[in-house]
Amino acid sequence: MTCPHLEYRESDGEAAFETARAFCTVTGEFVQPMRADICNDRYDLDHAAHCEIYRDHEGEP
């Protein structure tokens, strides 16, 4: 399961891209490509375990 706060957008009103990129709806910002691997739970990565933004949002230490 990918992060529920992940969206793919081409623009955030300021920056615009030819290809839709990972956007975090919690921070309201495009995320670093490396962080997008966490958002997507790729490889051995898990947003619930590895993303401090998700964990803070969910009230987890």
């Binding site: 290809t19 990565l45 590895h50």
Partner: protein, 280 residues
């Protein structure tokens, strides 16, 4: 003493880290991500004086790719657009199985060089790039089989122990080539004293490359030039030219360090000279 290499006027190899795998166009709108963009950036960097280009591969949306085909597309673009530059692939990865991290080594032809991370590195608040010794050994083994020169990435002081350990465990082709990395977080703290300690503590005969992250890129490149090392610059490691001002391009960062080397009286290595120095 590495300073003798400066006094002797040994050429300095400039590596351009063109794209990276952490940040992308959200950090710098002109950071090259596609194979064509990376190819054009490699050509401009070579024209500016880079002998080596360090590359990662990305998906069309900028996210990391470990696919051999994606690295092949990048190499094809670089070879079409450059004269003679040395191609160095990244094998770095966080939470990525070693089998995937080995895929960049399987292009045809193989890259002349590839990075080999010497140990763990913290990422964000809840994640570590593990780089176990088993991973290091597996990647090194495939590099050796394919005739690929490892660039040993030394993220912190403990990783120098790992370099010695690797030399004990494996036959690493001479000359040993280690990139000393300075910056925040798990990296070696960026101080001149730490730089000198790292240089003095390398295995006998080892050559070193100097990498400072962010605002440390220029001063550590200067120290690398003065103390007989080699230097790495580029948008992977630093997107700014000076405080508050984005760099125009990778080539601009290369030009600055080439000018710096010229001012300090050290010639810049051509790709052919880089191959000779590194034993490629």
């Amino acid at each position: 003493m590495s300073y003798d290499r400066y006094l002797d006027g040994d050429p300095v190899i400039v590596t351009a880290a063109l794209t990276g795998g952490v940040h992308g166009k959200e950090a710098h709108p002109d950071l090259p991500e596609t194979p064509a963009e990376i190819g054009r950036a490699a050509a401009a960097a070579e024209d500016a004086g880079a002998a080596v280009v360090h590359v990662h591969a990305r998906r069309p949306n900028g996210e990391r790719s470990f696919a051999t085909e994606r690295f092949q597309a990048i190499d094809d673009e670089i070879r079409e657009r450059t004269d003679d530059v040395v191609i160095q692939h990244s094998t770095g990865g966080t939470g990525v199985p070693v089998e995937k991290r080995a895929r960049p080594l399987r292009t045809d032809p193989a890259p002349e060089m590839a990075s080999l991370d010497m140990g763990p590195l913290n990422r964000y608040d809840h994640l570590t790039s593990e780089n176990t010794r088993a991973t290091v050994d597996a990647l090194h083994e495939e590099m050796a089989e394919r005739g690929i020169k490892p660039e040993l990435e030394v993220f912190n002081d403990g990783h120098r122990n790992e370099v010695y350990g690797l030399l004990d465990r494996r036959e690493v082709a001479d000359p040993v080539y280690a990139t000393l990395i300075f910056g925040p977080g798990t990296l070696t703290r960026p101080t001149p004293r730490n730089f000198l300690t790292a240089v003095d503590d390398l295995p006998a005969g080892a050559l070193f490359n100097t990498l400072g992250f962010g605002r440390h890129q220029l001063p550590f490149a200067a120290m690398g030039v003065l103390f007989g090392g080699h230097v790495r610059v580029g948008l992977e490691d630093n997107v700014y030219y000076r405080r508050g001002e984005l760099a125009e391009s990778n080539a601009q960062l290369v030009e600055r360090v080439v000018d710096l080397a010229a001012t300090l009286g050290r010639p810049v290595a051509s790709p052919a000279q880089a191959r000779e120095i590194l034993g490629l």
